[in-house]
């Protein structure tokens, strides 16, 4: 053992002579903290940890993920259902994102309450505010990537809001979508922004933020009484940070085991899915209900812009040296109002959804669909299949065998005598059971409630004339052959 230690120490010396790593680590660890180590200071380190966790899980997720509208959902389902550890890696990424928002608010609140933005820390604070915007950018762009119903319709609303911004709205929406609609081009763009542009920006800003923090020095406690006590970052604060990180990590792992990250059925633009934003956008979503027409710019654009503007400018106009939150009644009151207001709006939006019977039934149904999809066995996608050998030049493919009478009576007018389909009326049903969400069980459900699968006119809303036996006969015939 002593020899090993000696070899290690010699290797360390060798590296140190060439890199100066010893001085660097010393400098990093020997950061003086006025007033001593505290639990209140752990949020910054937790955020760095969460970001690293997002980077690592995100990089690994791209090993299987396909940023294309026709494969994204299948590849995410494959990660979630088939890959060993896939549910954990994706779950950590999904819940880690929410945790980042939570600890961002905690870090911001702590810095704000302790008045730690004061004393030549304008840039340090400003970097932080920009980083908050970037974290929201991550949340917004990452939301679309699974390409399920929630992702598609949530992003549709989000990009429409981006389009409402005066003057630049249409341009920025077009730029974001890569066209006028939410398509596979938009997905590629969101993926690029999410995985290349934003991470690069955030890494640079984090480096800048930490550098500026070390230049300014830890602000420490707002109480001057503790000023005589100074502790170094290592070991006590680093231990507190590590324990904080461990608790957050264990919490995330526990969450993933308890409630696997959601994944609903694949996006279906024709469905009437009821989209609800993630919790951190709920306050703005709720406000949107109170501002009709042009006034909707107030919650979507003006209020967020004012909030961020005020936050950004805060250290420039609040120059009084007082840091104790009890001696800064205006600042503390504003913060409490913002927090209570946001929580109140979240509660209000949840309450309204529960109170409205239509919305609550629909949301419950969507939730059940999502759970059912998550439980269902993974079905691989068939890609690049050659058409059946008999197909070239032949007439439209038909379903083999004679159709059952209920089919001829009820379905054939639109879907053709043998399921070949009719232009402008109904699609071909040939081989339809191999398509996603069109298993024989799905077809039965469709016959029971076409609207639940997003099917619209001319597909009837229900088939009162068909008995259960009729429905089974139709589905069996469609599923039997090509």
């Amino acid at each position: 053992m002593p020899e090993m230690r000696q070899t290690f120490s010699r290797a360390y010396d060798w590296c140190d002579e060439r890199t100066g790593i010893r001085t660097l680590i010393r400098h990093a660890l020997d950061e003086p903290i006025r007033g001593g180590a505290r639990w209140a200071y752990v949020f910054g380190s937790i955020l760095v940890f969460l970001f690293l966790l997002q980077v690592v899980t995100g990089i690994f997720l791209t090993m299987y993920y396909v940023p294309s509208a026709d494969h994204a959902h299948t590849s995410v389902a494959y990660i979630q259902k088939v890959i060993p550890g896939g549910s954990m890696v994706r779950g950590l990424h999904v819940y880690g994102a929410s945790a980042m928002v939570i600890f961002l608010f905690a870090h911001l609140a702590q810095t704000f309450l302790f008045g730690s933005y004061k004393g030549k820390r304008e840039l340090l604070w400003g970097f932080g505010v920009i980083m908050m915007l970037i974290v929201f950018g991550f949340a917004f762009t990452g939301y679309l990537l699974p390409w399920d119903q929630e992702a598609y319709f949530g992003t549709k609303v989000g990009t429409s809001i981006a389009g409402e911004v005066p003057v630049v709205g249409q341009f920025q929406q077009h730029l974001l979508l890569g066209g006028n609609n939410l398509t596979t081009l938009s997905l590629s763009r969101f993926f690029t922004i999410h995985t290349f542009l934003l991470p690069t920006a955030l890494v640079l800003l984090i480096i800048g933020h930490i550098y500026l923090f070390r230049v300014a020095g830890a602000a420490g406690s707002f109480s001057v009484r503790n000023d005589h006590k100074v502790e170094l970052f290592y070991p006590k604060q680093l231990l507190l940070d590590s324990v904080g990180i461990l608790l957050v990590f264990l919490g995330l792992v526990w969450m993933v085991y308890k409630i696997p990250a959601q994944l609903g059925p694949q996006a279906d633009p024709t469905s009437d899915f009821l989209a609800r934003p993630p919790w951190y956008f709920l306050p703005l979503f709720e406000l949107l209900k109170y501002f009709p027409g042009k006034l909707s710019l107030i919650p979507t654009v003006i209020l967020p812009a004012v909030l961020f503007g005020v936050l950004f400018a805060l250290p420039f106009f609040d120059k009084r040296p007082t840091r104790n939150p009890l001696h800064r009644p205006l600042a503390t009151t504003l913060m409490v109002i913002t927090i209570l207001g946001s929580v109140g709006l979240i509660v209000a939006s949840k309450y309204q959804d529960r109170k409205d019977p239509d919305a609550s039934a629909k949301l419950k149904k969507q939730e059940e669909d999502s759970q059912a999809f998550l439980k269902a066995e993974f079905k691989p996608e068939e890609i690049g299949k050659k058409p059946e050998k008999s197909a070239p030049g032949a007439a439209a493919a038909t379903i083999k065998g004679e159709p059952p009478d209920p089919y001829t009576v009820t379905c054939s007018l639109c879907h053709g005598d043998h399921g070949e389909g009719a232009e402008g009326l109904g699609p071909s049903l040939v081989g339809i059971t191999s398509k996603p969400n069109r298993t024989k069980e799905d077809l039965l459900k469709i016959l029971n409630d076409p609207r639940s699968y997003g099917l619209k006119d001319p597909m009837p809303a229900n088939f009162p004339d068909l008995s259960d036996a009729d429905k089974h006969a139709i589905v069996d015939w469609i599923g039997a052959g090509k």
Partner: protein, 169 residues
């Protein structure tokens, strides 16, 4: 004012920090290791008989290339993959070779004396026996049968770079 704790306490706290962070790193390493390794590949099932085309289209004594459609499983995707096979027909005697070079996997082509791999110039005679170049073995033969004039082939992939033919599971 002494910002430095006692050395023993300092190293104990350092140990705690090390244990916590190593624990998190170890959990992530195991999870990500399993993630990268992917699902267990199902044990190779017996390859299916695939249609390669009509045997009457193959000229006598001259290699002919036919294609078979191989269903391939790629995790979330299942797709049809065209693979070439070389057919050598001499009267009633038919041989079927995989067009994948047993050296490093390029596509084998024909030349005046039999077969050649254009990548690293391995050569084989018309019976698929090794003549020269870096390859360690002859062309890989594939099981086949003729039914109603249609050539059927059991298509398989084999490990490359070995002296013996070993199917890839």
């Amino acid at each position: 004012m002494d910002p430095q704790p006692q050395p023993e306490r300092r190293s104990f706290l350092g140990l705690m920090i090390g244990i916590i962070n190593t624990g998190i790193a170890a959990f992530m390493a195991v999870t990500l290791g399993r993630f990268v390794a992917g699902p267990k590949t199902s044990t190779a099932s017996e390859p299916e008989w695939l249609d390669a085309g009509s045997i009457s289209d193959v000229p006598d004594g001259k290699p002919a290339r036919l294609n078979v459609t191989v269903a391939q499983d790629a995790g979330w995707a299942q797709f049809d993959n065209q693979q070439s096979v070389w057919i050598v027909k001499k009267g009633d005697n038919v041989q079927v070779f995989s067009a994948v070079c047993p050296h490093l996997g390029c596509s084998v082509n024909t030349n005046a004396n039999g077969f050649i791999c254009p990548c690293h110039t391995s050569t084989w005679n018309i019976n698929g026996q090794r003549m020269g170049g870096p390859t360690l073995r002859g062309l890989d033969t594939l099981d086949h049968k003729i039914e109603d004039g249609t050539l059927k082939v059991k298509y398989q992939f084999f490990k490359q770079g070995l002296a013996g033919k070993e199917p890839i599971a």
